[in-house]
């Protein structure tokens, strides 16, 4: 067993996800998967994750999620049964066992498929058929794969797969405060709020800086460092150093 664990530690990169690892561990129990001891399997998996941690191997998140879930399952199996909990730990263990059996069966099925007498490898079709007369097929040939691959190519061409999330240009309240404070020294006379805003052609940034600068001015007015004046609603807002 020790030896096996060593091998596993070295092979950490070889697993296709936690289920793959669990199946490999289950196979070490050398029993029919239907007779598998889930508790022993959980111990093995958690032990494996622990030793990987000690070796400071980077574990992908899904391995850790599985570890957490198995730890939960283990405590459920060991602790006195709580009838409130649905599904029961035994049921969860059984489902896990089924999953492992199914994956194992599919893996086995895959290798049996590959081992069949395959055309072009073990058996061969006629090399040079003459072809039949009655072909009412369209002379134009295309496969569904060609079609959807073409559409994929067009889509990829038009919209690069890499999505760069455009950073929306905004002026933060902190930036506005700094800017207004710095400019206030020059505002001995009443100055329109607009004069404090950065010049920009970007309407988003213009809106954002107006809103932030207004808030910044309210804050500075509260601190008594500037005065605000407006003749009537929606009229120009005038600012002056206090």
């Amino acid at each position: 067993m020790d030896q096996a664990e060593d091998t596993l530690t070295i092979d950490i990169d070889g697993w296709e996800g936690p289920l793959d690892l669990l199946l490999a561990l289950a196979r070490q129990q050398k029993v029919d998967l239907r007779e598998l001891s889930i508790l022993a399997l959980v111990e093995q998996y958690l032990g494996f994750i622990e030793s990987a941690k000690q070796l400071r191997l980077e574990l992908a998140a899904d391995y850790l999620v599985m570890a957490a879930w198995l730890a939960y399952l283990k405590s459920g199996l060991l602790l006195p049964r709580d009838p409130e909990v649905e599904p029961s730990p035994e049921e969860l263990a059984f489902r896990l066992q089924l999953r492992l059996q199914r994956l194992d069966a599919m893996r086995e099925a895959g290798s049996r498929l590959m081992g069949r007498d395959r055309i072009g490898r073990d058996v061969f079709v006629r090399g040079a058929p003459e072809g039949l007369k009655v072909i009412r097929k369209a002379a134009w040939q295309a496969e569904l794969f060609d079609l959807i691959a073409a559409y994929g190519a067009i889509t990829a061409r038009n919209k690069p797969v890499m999505h760069v999330v455009a950073r929306r240009p905004v002026m933060t309240l902190e930036a506005a405060l700094q800017r207004v404070e710095a400019m206030l020294g020059h505002a001995v006379d009443w100055t329109a709020l607009e004069r404090f805003l950065p010049a920009t052609l970007d309407p988003q940034l213009a809106k954002s800086s107006r809103a932030s600068s207004f808030l910044a001015m309210l804050e500075l007015a509260k601190q008594g460092r500037l005065e605000l004046r407006q003749e009537e609603a929606f009229d120009t807002l005038w600012v002056r150093a206090a």
Binding site: G17, L19, R95, M106, L113, I119, V123, P129, L132
Partner: protein, 190 residues
Amino acid sequence: MIGHDERAVEAVLFAAENPLTKSEIEAAAGEGVDVAAGLAALAESYADRGIHPVERGGRWHFQTAPDLAHILRREREEPRKLSRAAIETLAIIAYHEPVSRAEIEAIRGVQISKGTLDVLMEAGWVRPAGRREVPGRPLTYATTAGFLTHFGLESRRDLPGIEDLRAAGLLDPVEDMLMHAEVETGGEDD
């Protein structure tokens, strides 16, 4: 003396570039040919020969006898090699079809990487098979007649061990995978 039915069916199958259904053989062989009788006679005539007529997914073609593989295989390129992921995915589709990508991923416990399904579709073994009428309407996948032909299966019933697996409940619809619900939805590729 060999009957006309048998000879006509034989010539049609030999000349055809692809496996043919019974009605395609009928259309090619012309009026008055009993295709069923011809196929039956043909199977018997060729039982011990170096080539055989075979039925795959309801389509017939001639192919070489498997025991002669060793002489024919030489100097030929092997067909496309598949990755382990592609082999497993193919098996899952064949045994569970129609099956959605999420279901395949639930069985394998990992996401299908790019280039797995498209390799199988390009080989002509897997095709989109309609959408499932559940929320999200996921596309499902199934195998093709070309899959049966390539792997020498008369029908999906001939998939190795499929009856035992079904009896053991291992081919039941993929259930909600509790702990995996989180992992899988969390990792959805963008």
